[in-house]
Symmetry: C2
Subunit: 191 residues, 2 copies
C-alpha cells in the first residue's frame, strides 16, 4: 500500500511526539516533592487529550513503568559513551549519573510500588540491565589499576544506591558521594 505510507508515517511521527511529550511532562511531574499528579493533570500539561494519553498508557502504572524503563535506557546508553576518557574517569562519571538516577527514580519507584507488588519484572530487569552496562566499565578501570579490585559491580551499585537513599539536600549529599567515589580509587594513604 505505497500511497498510504506517507500518511501512516506522519501519524506514527505524531504518535511518537505525543508519547514523548507525555513522558517528559510525567517525568517532571513525578519528580515534584510529594508528587500526586493526576492523569488529567498530565494530559493538560502535555497538551494532549485524555483519549491520546490513555491510548499510550492505559493507566498510571503503565506510565510509571514506561518512565522507569526510559531512565534505565538512558543509564545504559550513558555507560556506552565516553570511550575516549580514562577508565577511572569514565566509571566515576557514570556512577555520578547512576546516583542521580537512583535519587530521582526514588519517586518513580515508590509511586510504582503503590501500583504493583514490587516483584514485577520491570524492577528486576532494570537492575540486571544496569549491572550488565556497568560491568565492563568497572572491569576496565580495575584492570588499569585505578579502581580497587575487591568490589564487584553489584557491590558498587549497592553502595551508590545506599548513598542515594540518604535524606539530605543536594549540597549535603555531594561531599558524601565524593567520599564514596574517592574510596573506590586505588590510593596511597597520605599519613
Amino acid at each position: 500500500m505505497p500511497v498510504s505510507q506517507p500518511v501512516s508515517s506522519t501519524k506514527r511521527a505524531d504518535a511518537e511526539r505525543n508519547r514523548g511529550k507525555i513522558l517528559t511532562v510525567a517525568r517532571a511531574a513525578f519528580a515534584e516533592p510529594e508528587a500526586d499528579v493526576s492523569m488529567a493533570e498530565i494530559s493538560r500539561r502535555a497538551g494532549v487529550g485524555m483519549a491520546t494519553l490513555y491510548r499510550n498508557f492505559p493507566g498510571r502504572r503503565e506510565l510509571l513503568e514506561a518512565l522507569f524503563v526510559a531512565e534505565v535506557d538512558a543509564i545504559c546508553t550513558a555507560a556506552a559513551e565516553g570511550g575516549e576518557q580514562m577508565p577511572d574517569t569514565r566509571l566515576l562519571c557514570w556512577l555520578r549519573q547512576l546516583f542521580a538516577f537512583f535519587a530521582s527514580k526514588r519517586h518513580i519507584a515508590s509511586e510504582l510500588l503503590k501500583h504493583s507488588d514490587g516483584t514485577e519484572p520491570v524492577f528486576g530487569g532494570g537492575r540486571a540491565r544496569v549491572i550488565a552496562a556497568g560491568k565492563p566499565l568497572l572491569a576496565a578501570a580495575q584492570q588499569a589499576g585505578e579502581i580497587r579490585d575487591d568490589l564487584t559491580i553489584e557491590q558498587v551499585l549497592d553502595l551508590i544506591h545506599a548513598v542515594a537513599t540518604i535524606q539530605v539536600d543536594a549540597s549535603g549529599v555531594e561531599p558524601i558521594l565524593q567520599t564514596v567515589l574517592d574510596g573506590l580509587r586505588v590510593v596511597s594513604i597520605a599519613n
Copy 2:
C-alpha cells in the same frame, strides 16, 4: 534504717542481675532473623519468672526501648575509649563499631517501630547522643589532617547508616564498608 541496708542492697543486686539477664537474652533473641520471640519465651530463656520480667519491663515496647538505650550507651562509652590511639585509627575503629550497632539495631528498631510511631524521643535522643559522642573524635582526626574535613559528623553517621542498610551478607558488606572508610581518609591519588 541501717539494719535493713544489707538486705536491701542484696535485693538490689539480685534485681540488677535479673535485669541484666533479661536484657542479654532479649538482645540475642531479637537478633535472630525474623525474630518474633514472646515475652514468655524471654522469661524462660532468662530463667526468671513472668512477674519479675513484667516488674522490670511492663511490656515488649519497654524491653525494646531498654535494649536500644543500652546499645546507645555502649556506643557512647566506646567513643570515650582508645585515647592512646592515633586520631584516625580511633575514629575509624569507632565507626566500625557504629556500623555493627546500626546493622544489629535494625532488628530492634524495626520491632520498636511496630510498637510506637517512630517519633518517640528514644529514637531522636539516641541520634543526638551518638552525634555528641562522635563529634570530638571526628574533629581530632580532621585537625590532625588525617580525615577529610568537608564532612560533618552528621554526614559521616548518615553515610555509615546507609551502608548498614545494604542487604548483603557480612562478607559482602566488608569491602563496601572498607571502601567508605578509605574514602574518609585524606589521601594522595596514586594515578
